[in-house]
Amino acid sequence: MATKSLKWRGNTDVKTTAVATDIRAELRIRPAALSDVPSVIALDEEVTGLAKPVYWQDTFDRFGARSRAGRFFLVAELQGCIEGFVVGEVRAWEFGSPPCGWIFAIQVRPKGRLKGVGTQLFNALCERFRRTGVAKVRTMLARDNTTILSFFRSQGMMAGPFIELETTLD
């Protein structure tokens, strides 16, 4: 599990290319709408190779349309196209943890990577978490998912105080 204190703000990349700057200026981060769900499904399928329409519709129903306080489903829109999305929620007292923000999913269109789309989504979600009063943000991901692991690391996330364990049910 990776965690980050929300005191760290903003992107401190060593290099920012002109292309990336242009995209960052035009990119719009906003709450997901029902009409974005097909784009989210398609983007996720492009990245993972697996279409999960029921899952994403259900995720939108819970985090987007009738979202409760502390639940967020944001998309990054560039010239009418969805370039990425992020889903997160403030959760409290599970595993003895005080309230903190959890990031469940983040995806950026492969062609749009390393241009700051993920960073903008991450920062926008962290800003919403901050407004709810939490000071930490956490996520969990597969050990071999080096791309996303590197992304979260680049945002200042480090290993947190929890260890995830599992067993196979016979």
Partner: protein
């Protein structure tokens, strides 16, 4: 269990020092002085990094070494593997297999630790490392400890 060799640590010091400012040239002696390490040993490490095209050397007066890689792509693991090909698991595959149940069980636990270590090294780019250096998270820890001590007084 994974433990970095001296040459690997020297390589990480040198690469991070040079990557902090890719336009800057540094002499091997400057790096050795800063980190308090053997110049002779560091020179060999720098040659290997040069062969891997991670750094480049400039000859003549004012010569030295300069970073030549992509800090957002190169990970700690990329550097480690140059000096410890065994780090990614080859040595483990060459190791004799444990022949007892206790030995096999111990291997399972040690492998779990190694897999976490490898995932960590693979996920941290030089660019991310430089951010950690700049953020100085350890000074925050010291500050917190100092505040706690002051509060206790």
């Amino acid at each position: 269990m994974m433990k970095l060799q001296k040459a690997t640590c020297f390589a990480l010091f040198a690469v991070l020092e040079l990557a902090a400012d890719p336009s800057r040239q540094l002499a091997a002696a400057d790096i050795a002085d800063k980190y308090g390490i053997s110049l002779h040993h560091l020179a060999k490490v720098l040659r290997d990094l040069g062969r891997a095209r991670i750094i480049e050397s400039a000859r003549g007066v004012g010569g030295g070494y300069r970073f030549a890689g992509n800090p957002r792509r190169l990970t700690l693991m990329d550097i480690i593997e140059l000096f410890e090909p065994s780090a990614s698991g080859q040595a483990k595959r060459d190791e004799p297999r444990p022949t007892t149940d206790v030995g096999r069980a111990l291997r399972v636990v040690l492998d779990e630790i190694d897999e976490h270590a490898l995932a960590t090294f693979r996920s941290i780019t030089l660019s991310t490392m430089l951010k950690i250096v700049a953020q100085r998270p350890w000074s925050g820890m010291n500050d917190r400890k100092a505040r706690k001590r002051a509060a206790q007084r």
